[in-house]
């Protein structure tokens, strides 16, 4: 085991997959000569050359669509979209084409491609650059949407995404790139076949009082919340969704059946959000086991402000999530530390 950053895990795994499979190429703005806006593709151009590391013009619809077409002919493009905000320019290609081509042609051709893209607030980037709009993609059958929260997940899930025959939205988070964690030995070997199962959530910390559900950066924050509340003798079970479509309902529903209560934390807007889907699933799958209403902690429903105190206030925090947990537990008369 070694401890590396989330960024390093992505970079090394991407490289390993390019060594392993000649059909894997990377495409995107500033990924070659500039070595990536967030340096995930550092060194790739030097190693693999411009045939396999393609700098694109600023034309998201054009190059995302081109990756889809290339995938239809059997290549495995890994596209980097500078941030998820710019995926909106390519949304027709992603939703109307990548997601539909397998189905609307009766299964004759698939689209084995990955779109890697970071998102998230907290960097003072303002309204158009701080969004988590994974909901749009998670809504669409035909797409797979993955959101790893740790370096180990980033590695095994990226490997799974690249080897998968369907289009995968691979969501990274600006707030995670520098976070560290353990990865298994040999994670960067081309021969490594530690491949995550797409669509499996994980119970990343066991607990008995309440279930706390998150994904991507919020799964990491959820762990911090659980650690903090453990000091107050509150036992929080953390579920990391890892994949937003397909969604592993069973794992969090089983957890709620055990604990009897749930809080969902998400880095995106509340209304119609992913937390709403999770809450509805809990209601359908574990209604009889619930001791309290399911609570959701999400971003403030505003365009993200630039000013630091406003931005901080808009985002869920260890404190706001902890408060929601305590309120939920006190509502049912469970001890609250």
């Amino acid at each position: 085991m070694s401890v590396i950053t989330y960024r390093q895990a992505l970079r090394d795994t991407l490289r390993a997959e390019m060594v392993r499979d000649e059909n894997v190429l990377v495409m995107g703005e500033e990924i070659g000569v500039f070595e990536g806006s967030y340096k995930i593709t550092e060194g790739l151009l030097k190693e693999f050359g411009p045939r396999r590391v393609k700098d694109t013009p600023i034309a998201e619809e054009g190059f995302v669509g081109a990756a889809i077409g290339a995938a239809m002919l059997g290549l495995r493009p890994v596209v980097e979209l500078m941030t998820i905000n710019f995926s909106l320019i390519a949304i027709d290609q992603i939703i109307n084409h990548a997601a539909k081509i397998y189905g609307m042609f009766g299964g004759q051709t698939s689209v084995p491609m990955v779109i890697r893209t970071p998102g998230g607030g907290g960097q003072q980037l303002g309204a158009t650059h701080s969004q988590n709009i994974e909901l749009f993609y998670s809504f669409i059958p035909g797409l797979k949407v993955m959101a790893p929260s740790t370096p180990a997940e980033a590695s095994s899930m990226l490997r799974a995404a690249i080897r998968d025959d369907d289009p995968v939205l691979f969501l990274e988070n600006l707030g995670l790139y520098n976070s560290k964690g353990e990865v298994p030995e040999g994670y960067a070997e081309p021969s490594n076949d530690n491949v995550a199962t797409i669509g499996r959530a994980g119970v990343t910390r066991e607990g008995s009082d309440i279930t706390l559900i998150g994904y991507s950066r919020m799964a990491m924050v959820a762990t911090q919340v659980a650690e903090k509340l453990a000091e107050e003798d509150i036992s929080v079970e953390v579920v990391d969704l890892r994949s937003l479509r397909p969604l592993d309902r069973q794992t969090f529903v089983d957890s709620v059946k055990k604990t009897g209560a749930a809080v969902i934390c998400e880095d995106d807007w509340l209304t119609y959000g992913i937390g709403a889907e999770i809450a509805a699933s809990i209601q359908e799958g574990a209604f009889d086991y619930l001791d309290a209403p399911v609570r959701r902690v999400a971003m403030a429903e505003v365009p993200m402000p630039y000013a630091k105190p406003l931005e901080t206030a808009a985002l869920p925090s260890v404190e706001s999530i902890s408060t929601a947990i305590k309120e939920t537990l006190s509502a049912v008369g469970k001890r609250v530390g």
């Binding site: 013009p57 077409g69 290339a70 397998y102 009766g106 004759q108 084995p112 797979k144 969604l247 359908e284």
Partner: protein, 368 residues
């Protein structure tokens, strides 16, 4: 030979009369073999009758959804498809039945797709706008205007990546040349030196909006210039002119590894789709679109007749045998089974997924 007649811009009305006044400048039949010429004629008649039958079936509600026909554009369709080699790939828009047949797909299965049946080329999942066939390399009709351009560009990228010698043809309508995907795709195709021929079927209208109303530069073949892509215009009523121009550009795309742009002037005889009565057309425009003078089948048939290659009896014989074949396709479609409802979830993902909610409306998420 490419027809490089230049409209001077101006109103739709002005350009319509300009086009109508145009003399047929096609070079005749050249030294093409009679059997080839007759085969082209037959193919054009086939597309015509297939589409007429399709329109009929649509009106009888045997076919659902939208239905866009190639009536009047048969010479363009057949000319382009005979220029494309078997190994070459094709992407089209939703006006795709004729192209699908021309690329080699079984007309019975094209008709079955229109009927939404299990023997349809896309197993009944696509319908009129989404013909697809891996075997004949018809990589799809697409319903989003311009959506096929980035995909076709990517297919050409895959060819170039592997050092292959196939070419991609990407068909579209005139209205498509103003959408972002057009600009982005032509730019990328030239930047990356991709073997692709973008073909604009200029039937002078996107639904009811004329080229002059929608394109600041209505000479569409010139619009590759911004990307240093050579463009040509051809008279889409002339099957041989289309074939020759397209072949030349396809072979250049193949050997020079670079994109080209081809504009084919063509006449959409009917409305945008079967249910569109085209009331937006002036009488003059309607006459122009439907005039005998612009009917590619009549034009070609007369040329053949003049050259002594097509007698009245032969014409009748072709019409009759095509009619029988089209009827056979319709029968086949009629008798093909509807897709089994148990297959509803078969084509969402190519790689299986655990935990996918495979529920019918009103089923619970968690069945006990």
């Amino acid at each position: 030979m490419a027809d490089t007649a230049k409209p001077k811009g101006g109103t739709a009305r002005a350009s319509a009369s300009r086009r109508r006044g145009r003399k047929d400048t096609s070079p005749g039949l050249g030294d093409e073999k009679p059997e080839v010429l007759l085969d082209y004629y037959r193919q054009m008649v086939f597309v015509r009758q297939f589409e007429q039958r399709t329109g009929q079936a649509y009106t009888q509600a045997r076919i659902g959804g939208y239905c866009h026909l190639n009536l009047g554009e048969e010479a363009t369709v057949v000319g382009l498809m005979t220029a494309l080699q078997e190994r070459d790939y094709l992407f089209t828009n939703y006006r795709d039945h004729g192209y699908a047949i021309g690329k080699g797909m079984d007309p019975k299965r094209v008709m079955a797709e229109l009927y939404g049946r299990s023997d349809g080329v896309s197993k009944g999942w696509g319908g009129s706008m989404h013909m697809y066939d891996t075997e004949t390399r018809m990589l799809g009709g697409y319903g989003i205007v311009g959506g096929q351009l980035p995909l076709a560009t990517g297919a050409a990228l895959a060819i170039s990546y592997r050092g292959g010698d196939e070419v991609v043809m990407c068909q579209m309508g005139d209205g498509t040349t103003n959408i972002g995907a057009w600009h982005e795709s032509l730019n990328i195709a030239k930047l990356w030196n991709l073997p692709i021929v973008f073909v604009v079927i200029n039937n002078f209208t996107g639904m009811g909006t004329t080229v002059e109303m929608s394109s600041a530069e209505p000479d569409l073949y010139k619009r590759g210039a911004a990307f240093r892509i050579e463009g040509e215009r051809v008279d889409g009523r002339d099957v041989l002119a289309v074939r020759d121009t397209a072949s030349r550009l396809i072979e250049r795309a193949r050997t020079e590894q670079t994109p080209f742009l081809l504009e084919a002037w063509s006449y959409r005889q009917k409305g945008h789709s079967v249910v569109d009565p085209a009331k937006y057309r002036t009488e003059e425009q309607r006459d122009e679109a439907r005039s005998e003078e612009n009917d590619p089948i009549r034009i070609f048939g007369e040329k053949l007749a003049k050259a002594g290659l097509l007698t009245d009896e032969q014409r009748d014989e072709i019409n009759a045998s095509v009619k029988a074949e089209v009827a056979e396709a319709a029968d086949f479609a009629e008798n093909s089974p509807h897709p089994d409802v148990s297959t509803l979830f078969d084509y969402t993902y190519a790689s299986p997924v655990p935990n996918e909610s495979r529920r019918m409306p009103a089923d619970p998420v968690f069945a006990e």
